[in-house]
Amino acid sequence: MSEDRILVAEDDEHVNELLVYRLETAGFDVTAVDDGAACLEHVRLAEPTPDAILLDLMLPEYDGFDVLRRLEERDPDSKPAVIVVSGRGLEDDVVRGFELGADDYVTKPFSLSEIVARLRRALR
């Protein structure tokens, strides 16, 4: 059973709960936050740091793009894998997400099983 640590950064309470539930069922160790500042703070302070982040783009405090920029400043060895999970489906948003360092980009609505599969691939 996986012990990978996943940080869910999603401000929609219901989506947040769904992701946490599904990921815990899949065996991940899950922490959830609901804004960009809390996401960055958790990455900075948590020991050990999360292995991966599921990152919504439309977050309060710092939006997902800001979070991506700040994560890129970290030491690559300690930088979590980032999967953007967003309702912004325009090509420009997807390209920008990858340019800012996202490892994957999933548009909503997403399949929970697909999220799990993409996480496992990102964590390999």
């Binding site: 929609d12 989506v15 539930y21 599904r22 309702g87 609505p109 929970l112 099983s113």
Partner: protein
């Protein structure tokens, strides 16, 4: 990125956000996270997931593409300006729009985007109202005899009335019928001529008449019309579209008509829509024998888009293209 694209992106985002909860919860249920499922429950959930995917695709096409060819057929470019706009919205009071469902919401949105104040109501509610608002557009379906009475009253009381009938056909989501007006069966020749003028009938017009009144077809013929008359509504289906310029339908026949048949005669492929005069009993409050629809009566585009419809309705407003 301009404001219109921002609005589309925001709308797309909201669609995706709401669909996420639906799909994710359906998947959890399918995974039996909350308990085992009966086969019927599983089927229903799989259908929910499939439909969510379809709606996602539709939303992506509608809000996230700049290629007009990919816009879904029920609606046109959401951010297209209404053209033409002959009536200044400030000169017009609130438009009361009696159109149901998604189409009503889309048309209302288009009119509001163009600066008009719009009130969206259920068509049946409007027909039961004692006082008719001005600037009215209403979807009356294929009007029954009871509806015609109400329509005649509304036509008299409204400054601008556009009557629509939306029909479901196999070929398109809705084919629009424009009702030119209501004609009393006992109408004088003067009223008959007014009705023919209202439908822009050419010299020696060809009239398709469906109903049981023997007198009216004869009088139309005496006025120079080439009349193809039938009391059997089924005959309408065999009527070649190029044989009539307009249709006179008695209220009782309307009640029996197959909507697809009338749609086929009303709007033959590639051709203009034939106007319709409904022959019915005038309202007790009116002594008029011919109660015309003021404003637009026909919509020639197929399949119709909310942009087209809103533009046509805007043209029908007072100080616009008023008959």
């Amino acid at each position: 990125m301009n404001t219109s694209e921002d609005e589309q992106a925001a709308l797309a985002y909201e669609f995706r956000r709401q669909l996420t909860g639906i799909q994710a919860n359906a998947e959890l249920l399918l995974d039996e996270a909350f308990g085992p499922l009966e086969p019927e429950q599983r089927d229903a959930l799989e259908e929910i997931v499939a439909s969510t995917g379809d709606v996602t695709t539709l939303a992506a096409h509608a809000f996230e593409t700049t290629d007009p060819e990919t816009v879904v057929p029920v609606d046109g470019e959401p951010d297209a300006d209404l053209q033409p706009r002959p009536t200044d919205p400030d000169e017009v009071g609130e438009i009361t729009l009696g159109l149901a469902g998604t189409l009503g919401e889309q048309v209302a949105a288009q009119l509001e985007r163009a600066g008009y104040a719009v009130r969206l109501v259920e068509p049946t509610t409007l027909l039961e109202a004692e006082r008719a608002p001005t600037s009215l557009a209403i979807d009356c379906g294929l009007p029954t005899a009871d509806v015609l009475d109400s329509l005649a009253s509304l036509a008299e009381a409204s400054d601008s009335l556009s009557l629509l009938s939306t029909l479901e056909t196999d070929a398109s989501p809705a084919a629009f019928l424009g009702i030119s007006g209501v004609l009393a069966p006992t109408a004088t020749d003067e009223a008959l001529e007014a009705a023919l003028a209202a439908v822009d009938a050419a010299i020696d017009p060809r009239v398709g008449y469906v109903g049981d009144e023997a007198d009216l077809p004869e009088r139309l013929a005496k006025l120079g019309c080439e009349v193809v008359a039938s009391s059997a509504v089924d005959d309408l289906e065999s009527l070649p579209p190029d044989r009539v310029d307009c249709l006179f339908l008695e209220a009782t026949a309307v009640d029996r008509l197959d909507p697809t048949a009338i749609a086929a005669v009303r709007a033959p492929d590639g051709g203009p829509q034939r106007p319709i005069v409904v022959v019915g009993t005038p309202p007790s409050s009116s002594s008029a024998e011919w109660v015309p629809t003021v404003g637009n009566r026909a919509f020639a585009r197929k399949p119709p888009t909310s942009v087209d419809l809103a533009a046509e309705l805007a043209r029908a407003l007072p100080a616009g293209d008023r008959e």
